[in-house]
Amino acid sequence: MALLRRSETVIAGILLLAMVLIGTINPAFWQLDNLFSLMRSNVIIGIMAMGVLLVLISGGIDVSFPAFAVAAMYLTIKGMLALGYNGVVLPLLAATLMGLAFGAVNGFFVYKFRMIPLIVTLGTSAMVRGFLLGVVGTSMININKMPTALIDFARTDVVSVTKADGTTYGLTAMVLIYLGLALAMHLVLRYTMIGRSAYALGGDPEAARRAGFDLRKTIFFIYCVAGALAGFAGLLHSGMIWLANPRDFVGLELDVIAAVVLGGASIFGGRGSVLGTMLGVFMLVMVKNSLIIMRVDTTWQLVVVGLIVIAATALSAWRDRRRAA
């Protein structure tokens, strides 16, 4: 009974239903290479979603992470090229730290000036993108110039299968990084006080203040982690697609927020889980992927994602109202 009432169970049910439906329309859906490629598409959105989840739980919203991701990615790669450095760990660390620093700016404005997170992150997003294109550059860095170490790293597979026609396909090891980060986020949210303080802040900011939570710490933590995850995901993404495009990730915020809300997080704060978010991400990626396979126009894909955001938000609002009644 308790299991049935959990939103994760409901989301998993809907996901299964959607999978069966899509599988019926397009039997190729169930093929292993399609499933592998689906999971691969989960990685970047999924990692970013972890940050957005944290922000939503705390009652905020973040639309700046795609800008932070692209800036961290492009700056890092530019730096690597300039220094002639070819590695993996240090660049990933650098991109993460850059994202973290950007996130701290969000945290500063949200905490210090009690500003609405949407406005703050819209502002920082525009500034970071503008700065990147105006000062750092607009040119893409293609496969021929991309640091090879990054590409090799992102190419690692956990399993690989050889098809009858001799071509091989595999499941990217980046999935493990995603799972690891998701697990870490789950542990933070569930088993640390800072994680619980995010829920408390999202539940009732005034009560959280009275209870004696250090809200400065909480808010900075939340936006720094969201920024750091975005920076990390940004660089990983360029390794996976062998390309560093300073105009990347435009409009991604909608997809990620849609996925997180689809995963049961409340847009009003206070509710949400890692498992639900992962299911939400999978669902969104799967739907978008099927639309592509079915050759639905990209503009119509936007309509679908918009619909998902509205439907999922309406559903969660309805749920929260019923709970309060």
Binding site: R190, Y191, T192, M193, I194, G195, R196, Y199, A200, G202, G203, D204, E206, A207, A208, R209, R210, A211, G212, F213, S266, G269, G270, R271, R323, A324
Partner: protein, 500 residues
Amino acid sequence: MSDGFIELRNIRKVFAGVVALDAMSLVIKPGEIHCLAGENGSGKSTVIKIMSGVYRPDGGEILIDGKPIAAMTPIEAIAHGVQVIYQDFSLFGNLTVAENLAMNVHLGEKRRLMNWRRTRAIAREAVDRLGVELDLDAEVASLPTAGKQLVAIARALMSDARLIIMDEPTTALTRKEVETLFRIVRDIQARGIAILFVSHKMREMLEISERITVIRNGRKVAEGPTGDFDEALITRHMTGGDILNEPYAWTPPPGPPPVPRLEIRGLTVPGKCEDLSLAIRPGEIVGLSGLLGSGRTDLALALFGMVPGYKGEILIDGAPVRLRTTQEAIAAGIAYVPEDRLTEGLFLPQSIKRNMLATSYERLAPKLVIDRSQAEEMTQGMVRAMQIATPTAEKPVMQLSGGNQQRVVLARWLLTDARVLILNGPTVGVDVGSKAEIHAKIRELAQHHGLAVLMISDDVLELVQNCNRIVLMHRGCFIEDLPAAAVTEETVSDRLKTFT
């Protein structure tokens, strides 16, 4: 010099030009039960917020154990053993009962990690200490008001408190629950913990406290052992005058009996109340009482169109109406002042004016444009009539004291030209002075404007004094319909006690 645990000396607090506290002094001795009495807006809640470090005073001193505290912060207050149960409980609705209970312990110990097993153990102990039944895994948002309060009280009891402050703790409790609370209060006092109690119910104050401080307009006007006070004296200190209370008399007009303003026939809300029939004639004030969960609120909600699935008939002035939405109810001439003004009635960040006019906009703007001067006139009139303590009607309702917020809700409905007025706990959290004014207003509406009033209340005295009939409800049924002239507070209370 002083033997107090905590002492306020000449505290001053100003909010944007409004002086909430002015030279306020208060001493609380270790282990005593102390009552703070005062009218709405006199500054009681502000005193509490200063003691708990939520507000910083603009002047004066706070001493704990005789030592001045430089800057009281919430954390410091908690560290000194000051615990507050707020009027709004200050709970996290999205978290479970267990986590809400254990939160302060974790924070106090400066934990970094969350131990769920320990959380449950702490919560279990807290609930046991309070001696009540609470589902530890329930989400707090899903609990009824009384349940939320129990959680808040249990939480305050569990820290190593030296002073527990309760801001109007009994307003949402039934008599039985109040008795439980008082038993607990005496129990914790026996452990050497002081209790500061804010209430508008004189009888409770006199019953539970050892010392009383009366505050008026942000200043202490009287202080002393409870034995030195009686209801009249406290009232005099609070208001600077006496208040008379006469029972409400209603005589049917000569001739054939008038058509009832409101009549219900066989009203049934599945699982909540069954086969209720009642007629209220113009000018009647009918009281409705019963324990929490007796179905009285469900009846009110059904009458206000919030239970579209009800069965049975509702007639207004003899004409059957079907109430499926609140709009239909309002159109039928029904006004409802809810029990929980904070979540059901008010838009806290909005101005007094907007809150008052919320249900009148349609009337004010027949052609889509609001008649501003009329709107202004209506609000000004109401602010004056209801004696709301505010410099301007533009002030956000959030900044009003609890009792003044209640007046705004009442004012809103008085503006709708309703024919049937349903009041659910009309004077919960309202001081004696304003209570009398609100009652007078309600009587006037019934007597001179022919409204039918259904007054739901836990305060039996309020019903006895203001109704001409009292209906008792239990487990979804009407048990008795008593003429108020034939009963006293005691007989009704005794009757209610037999309901279990």
